[in-house]
Each structure stands twice: as structure tokens, then as C-alpha cells.
Amino acid sequence: MHYWLIFWTVSLVIAGVSFAVITGIVMVKGYSDLRQMFSRLAEQGKHDHE
């Protein structure tokens, strides 16, 4: 039981930290990702209308 507790504690710390870090990165970079995506789509739309 003791080894399982250590294992789950370490797993939980890795899970919590990676969740928080990836959230931070996605918050910053995801926004610019979305903007680029919509500008590409708008560009495609223009070509479709031309």
C-alpha cells in the first residue's frame, strides 16, 4: 500500500503540474493560433468569391 501511495502521489503531482503548465501555454498560443486560422479562412473565402 505504501508503494502505491507514493506512486499515486507522484502521478498526481505530474498530472496537476502538466495540466496547469499546458493550460498556460494553450491560453497564450491558442489565441494567436485561432487568429491565424480565421485569417487563412477569410483569405480562402476571398479567393472563392473572386
Binding site: W4, S11, A15, S18, G30, M37
Partner: protein, 498 residues
């Protein structure tokens, strides 16, 4: 009422922002691929946000909280497997890389490319039934969460959930995947902040040592060791590995994110990084459940675990976690958390609405029309059919979801309803992509035997979830191999784009 004015303000502001942002998506809808797979223009980070938001809902927090309450730390094994399998799928590109290269829009579409139109239709029907039944329990459980945490009278549960579903429907029907991607980003940020806040509060308020001590005194070593725990064991762990490989590759809503990425390489990156989020998606709410057990687990024993008692009332184990949030979170924080949970609810529901309605329109209605000799629909007409299917799924859920109560642990109910189609689909996809001999006869047998292997043992023979899961995957594999060896080998080209 548990909610203060500041909490209401935060929640209403979120709802307005979310629906308004979702409606913006409409202006980018030019054709059906924009509507269903965001024009295949999704980048890595927006991809991670939309995939994570799609698969993290209030329902996820509720069933994982229930697992944590009932089985303690041993339940972490399910979360660990889901995350690790996703990382493996992302790193290796198993199925997803080829799926993305084929430029699909739905999973059953692959069946027509590899096998036959008839098999696509059968797969579409099973995917739609399994998926909608799976989603059918979301609304009621999400509603329970909201009423317990916010303190809204449970008599208004149906009205509250109907309003939320209608808001989701508005932007999903109008803006399709474009609206879903935009709202998913906002919702991902909010739900993640809420997840982190609740985790900090739960551990701070309850105390790590107290949680460990309570799990230990209640369950003994079975609360830590998933192999020793009678609900899990080695068969459960192996079934979970199989199930999560099939979910991460063939679950329609997950696969739609893979189909929406700009390149196969991006789809692999999205899957890998979301795998790490999956570890927290499971373990953190399980921890909240164990914390709720520590605070409220003083009632009569139910399968060896004390039922939660809050203010003199005995609750079901699944309701212990939201009751804990209602009691430990202060004004303002509670508003952020409920807005985060609403975000989680809406992101999942909108993506699932789009996913299952896409299957109904693209894999059931359109192939049937073609089978009847009717001309192919224009892109604009396909979008219209998709919107109608979306409305149909939404209305069905409104009635089914609010009145049906799943038997047993919700997590296991969701696993079994998913297995109805996942067993056959996964086996057909793996066989189709990696075994040249696989043919339509094998495909039919795999789909039918996989579905029968899930439905008959679980609903009629009352076998355990683990054995049922094995049975479904085993029979599906047997069906594919036998049918493919007996049936005619038909050369099929997988080239071409949609």
C-alpha cells in the same frame, strides 16, 4: 441559495460571451468541410484546447468524482491509462495519422472507403445509437451538479438544463465546428482555471493526510491498489487499455478534431499534449471525490463505503463532490467555478451534438439518398441537413437526458454504451488500415458481433463491465478475422479526398 450576486454576474456574463463568440463562427462557413471540420485549418494549440474542452465536461468531473469517492486512489489507474494511451497514440500516430491523411469528416466514412457503403450505413447507425445513448445521461447529471453547487431549487432543474441546451444548440446549429472551436477555446480556459482552483481548495480545506487516512481506514489497501480492488483487477486494467485505444482513435468527437487539423503531424502533436491533460482530467476530480469522502463519508455503508451525509441528508456518492464544492468555496470563487463547469458542460455538449448529428447526416441520410438513386446534395444542402440532424439530436437529448437515470457507476455506464459501437469500429479500422485481407464480410461480422458482445452480456446476462468489454472486443476481432477469411477479398482504393 448558495450563490451570491457576484457569482450570478460571473455566470451570466460567461453565458453571454460564450454564445456571442459562438455566433461569430457563422461568417466562416463556406462549405460542409468548414461546418464539420473547420476547413481542416486547426493548429496545434487551438487543437489542444478544442480536444481537451470536448472531452472534459461536468459529466467528466462528476463520474471521476464518483470513482474517487467509491474506490479512492485505486481509481487513479483509469485516469493514468487514459492519459498514457493517448500519449502513445499521439507519439506513434496509430490510426490518427492515416485517418487525417484520408481527409475524412466522420469515422463511418472510412468504412465506405475501405469496405462498402452498406457497412458505412451500419456503422453510422451503431455510432449514432451508441453515441446518443452515451450522451443521454449528461444533462441530468450536469443539472444535478449545478443545482447542488449553486443552490437552485431542484424543481427548476429541467428548466435550467433546457435553457443551457438551447443556448448550445443556437451556436452549434448556426456555426458548426467553427463556433465550437471558438467557444471551446474560451471554455477550455475557464474550465481549466476552475479545475485548478477546486483542486487547490479541496486539498487545502480537507488536508492531504486526512484524505489518505480516510481512504485507508475505509477501504484498506484496496483503496490504493487497483489490482487488489474487487471492482477493478487485472481484467479491468486490460479492458481499459483496449477501450482507451479505441476511444482516442475512433470516438467520433475526438476523431473530428484529428480530421480538423491542418496536417497529420499536427494531429499527432495535439493528441500527445492532450494526453498529459487527460492525466489531470481524471486524477484531479478523483481527488475531489476522495476529499468529499473525507468530509462527508459518515453514513450507512453501501458496498463497504459510507454514504455521504450533508446537513443531515444522505446523498448518492456521485453528489458528494458538488456538495463539497458548495460548502468550501466562497463567493466569487464559486461563480468562477460554476462558470467553469458550465463552460465544460457546453463545450462537451456542443461538440457531441455536432459529432453525432454529423454521423446521422453524412453516414445515414446521405448514403441512403444515394442508395435510393437520388442525386448528391450540394454543400449548402448538406449543411442544412446537418443543422436539422443537430436539432433532432438536441431535442432527443432534452427528453431522454432529463428523465433517464443510468444504473450503477456512471463511468461504467458510459464505457459500456460506448463499447456497443467502439468494439466493432476499432477492430474494423485497425483491420482495414493494417491488415490487407480485411473485407466487408469481416467488417459486417465485426460490427454486429461487437455490438451483440456489449449489449447481451451487460443488459441481459448482467455480466460485469470488465467481462462485457472483453467479450465485445474479442467477438468483434473474431468476426473480422472469420468473415475476412471466408468472404471474398475485394480490392479497395483508399485514395481520394472528400
Amino acid at each position: 441559495m448558495h450563490f451570491a450576486a457576484i457569482d450570478w454576474f460571473i455566470v451570466v456574463a460567461y453565458l453571454i460571451l460564450s454564445v456571442a463568440a459562438g455566433l461569430l463562427g457563422k461568417k466562416y462557413i463556406g462549405n460542409v468541410s468548414h461546418y464539420l471540420v473547420a476547413g481542416r485549418e486547426l493548429g496545434t494549440f487551438a487543437g489542444i484546447a478544442t480536444l481537451a474542452a470536448t472531452e472534459i465536461g461536468t459529466i467528466t468531473f462528476m463520474y471521476n468524482g464518483e470513482l474517487g469517492y467509491k474506490y479512492g486512489f485505486a481509481a487513479f489507474a483509469a485516469a493514468l491509462i487514459s492519459g498514457l494511451v493517448m500519449i502513445v497514440v499521439g507519439r506513434t500516430g496509430l490510426v490518427i495519422e492515416r485517418f487525417r491523411a484520408l481527409r475524412l469528416m466522420t469515422v463511418p466514412e472510412y468504412f465506405e472507403r475501405k469496405y462498402s457503403r452498406g457497412l458505412r450505413l451500419l456503422a453510422g447507425i451503431l455510432v449514432a445509437i451508441g453515441g446518443i445513448l452515451n450522451m443521454g445521461v449528461f444533462l441530468k447529471i450536469e443539472g444535478e451538479f449545478l443545482t447542488i453547487v449553486s443552490g437552485i431549487d431542484s424543481r427548476y432543474l429541467v428548466a435550467v438544463m433546457t435553457v443551457i441546451l438551447l443556448l448550445e444548440l443556437v451556436y452549434t446549429v448556426v456555426g458548426g465546428m467553427m463556433a465550437v472551436v471558438i467557444t471551446d477555446f474560451i471554455q477550455y480556459v475557464l474550465l481549466s482555471v476552475a479545475t485548478i482552483l477546486v483542486s487547490i481548495y479541496a486539498v487545502h480545506y480537507t488536508g492531504w493526510e486526512n484524505i489518505v487516512a480516510k481512504v485507508s481506514s475505509t477501504m484498506g489497501s484496496a483503496g490504493f491498489d487497483p489490482i487488489e480492488n474487487p471492482k477493478f483487477g487485472i481484467t479491468f486494467l486490460i479492458w481499459q487499455v483496449l477501450l482507451w485505444f479505441s476511444i482516442h482513435t475512433c470516438w467520433q468527437t475526438t476523431a473530428m478534431r484529428v480530421f480538423s487539423t491542418r496536417t497529420p503531424e499536427i494531429s499527432k502533436r495535439v493528441m500527445t499534449w492532450t494526453g498529459f491533460i487527460y492525466l489531470g482530467r481524471g486524477m484531479l476530480p478523483m481527488l475531489w471525490g476522495a476529499a468529499a469522502l473525507t468530509l462527508f463519508g459518515v453514513g450507512a455503508l453501501d458496498n463497504g463505503v459510507p454514504l455521504p451525509v450533508v446537513d443531515g441528508r444522505t446523498l448518492a456518492p456521485i453528489d458528494a463532490m458538488p456538495a463539497m464544492l458548495a460548502s468550501i468555496l466562497g463567493p466569487g470563487i464559486k461563480g468562477i467555478v460554476v462558470a467553469g463547469m458550465l463552460a465544460a458542460t457546453m463545450s462537451v455538449n456542443s461538440s457531441y451534438l455536432l459529432g453525432w448529428s454529423a454521423v446521422i447526416s453524412q453516414d445515414i441520410i446521405l448514403p441512403m439518398r444515394e442508395q435510393m438513386g437520388k442525386p448528391a446534395l450540394s454543400s449548402r444542402s448538406q449543411i442544412f441537413v446537418n443543422r436539422l440532424a443537430n436539432l433532432f439530436v438536441g431535442l432527443f437529448l432534452m427528453f431522454w437526458g432529463l428523465y433517464y437515470t443510468p444504473p450503477g457507476a456512471v463511468y461504467l455506464y458510459l464505457n459500456i454504451t460506448g463499447t456497443i459501437y467502439l468494439a466493432g469500429t476499432f477492430i474494423c479500422v485497425i483491420g482495414g488500415l493494417y491488415w490487407k485481407r480485411a473485407n466487408a464480410t469481416g467488417g459486417y461480422l465485426a460490427m454486429l458481433m461487437g455490438a451483440a458482445g456489449a449489449i447481451i452480456p451487460f443488459f441481459f446476462l448482467h455480466w460485469s463491465e470488465n467481462v462485457t468489454g472483453f467479450c465485445a472486443f474479442g467477438l468483434a476481432a473474431l468476426g473480422l478475422v472469420l468473415g475476412s477469411l471466408v468472404g471474398k477479398r475485394a480490392p479497395t482504393s483508399l485514395a481520394g479526398a472528400t
